[in-house]
Symmetry: C2
Subunit: 174 residues, 2 copies
């Protein structure tokens, strides 16, 4: 599937509602359990997605599209949510993510992103030159990856409860 | 997390709406692409979930709870959707799944499922004795597994488009 901005936006637009539909009002065990030490719960993932809306996608897009000479991205903090989510409940995180995503999609759609713009570049702290197309495709794949992660973390809460069916459920072996 | 029927129902109730929110109205490429030969597209997964509502969960629950002597489950056809979905569009599959799931949850909730009922047994064609608790926990984990699968199949459509970010996206390596 070739990258296409309207089709990418189809997914980016849905993610907040999909996560809200999946998580809003669930019992705390579904929300706060993880896959074991150093892994994330659905609640942790929501905080990470929020930090991405604040410090990653749009900030990096602006760097790529700017006329300035400095094209280097700041490193992204993958653990920011453990501070930033403190004192917030899941409903607050879902609402915050939805608002930030809407604002960011408005910003994205206010830019003239044509085929030339998609080839413009920024400098990633780990692997160097990346294009705007790479960044926007990654935004989509990152959403979907974390949706899959949340579903997996929830499924794993029943790893023992499924009994011998565990063998038939690949999600419990990932 | 110990199995608990109301908490299982929390997830089972949401699945049709989560899938509708994720898939309804998406471009055909998102719906019909898969992960390569012998793998399933989101459209295929929807047909498989429908077949489960018709021929798996409730039918097997009724066998377990019945007073009859024959506790053997029929084998489940993992490929039924390739015939059954023919001529249907995705919106029809989403609607059919939602209706069947609602009916099945009504049936489930009409039974008196207490701690004793959860220990009752049926005979699985491949691995023998399983309990009602195993079956119901598997219903939940199966939903979540296929939600994760749909998200993964969609993410993989951008495996090349993400450029060097592929290294940072575990979902593209599963």
């Amino acid at each position: 599937m070739k990258f296409n901005l309207p089709k990418a936006i189809e997914v980016l637009t849905r993610t907040p509602t999909v996560l809200e539909t999946l998580l809003q009002g669930l019992s705390e065990e579904w929300i706060f359990q993880n896959e074991g030490e150093e892994t994330w719960s659905p609640y942790d993932v929501m905080g990470h997605l929020i930090h991405g809306e604040k410090a990653d996608w749009i900030e990096r897009m602006e760097i790529i599209l700017s006329d300035g000479p400095n094209k280097a991205f700041k490193p992204f903090d993958r653990f920011a949510q453990f501070e930033e989510s403190k004192g917030k409940n899941l409903a607050q995180l879902l609402a915050e993510f939805k608002t930030l995503r809407q604002q960011n999609l408005t910003t994205l759609q206010s830019k003239k992103i044509d085929a030339v713009a998609l080839t413009k570049k920024g400098i990633h702290p780990a692997f160097g030159e990346v294009t705007l197309e790479h960044l926007l495709a990654t935004w989509v794949a990152h959403d979907l990856g974390h949706l899959a992660q949340i579903a997996r973390v929830m499924a794993k809460q029943y790893s023992n409860e499924v009994g011998p069916w565990k063998e038939y459920l690949p999600i419990l072996h990932k």
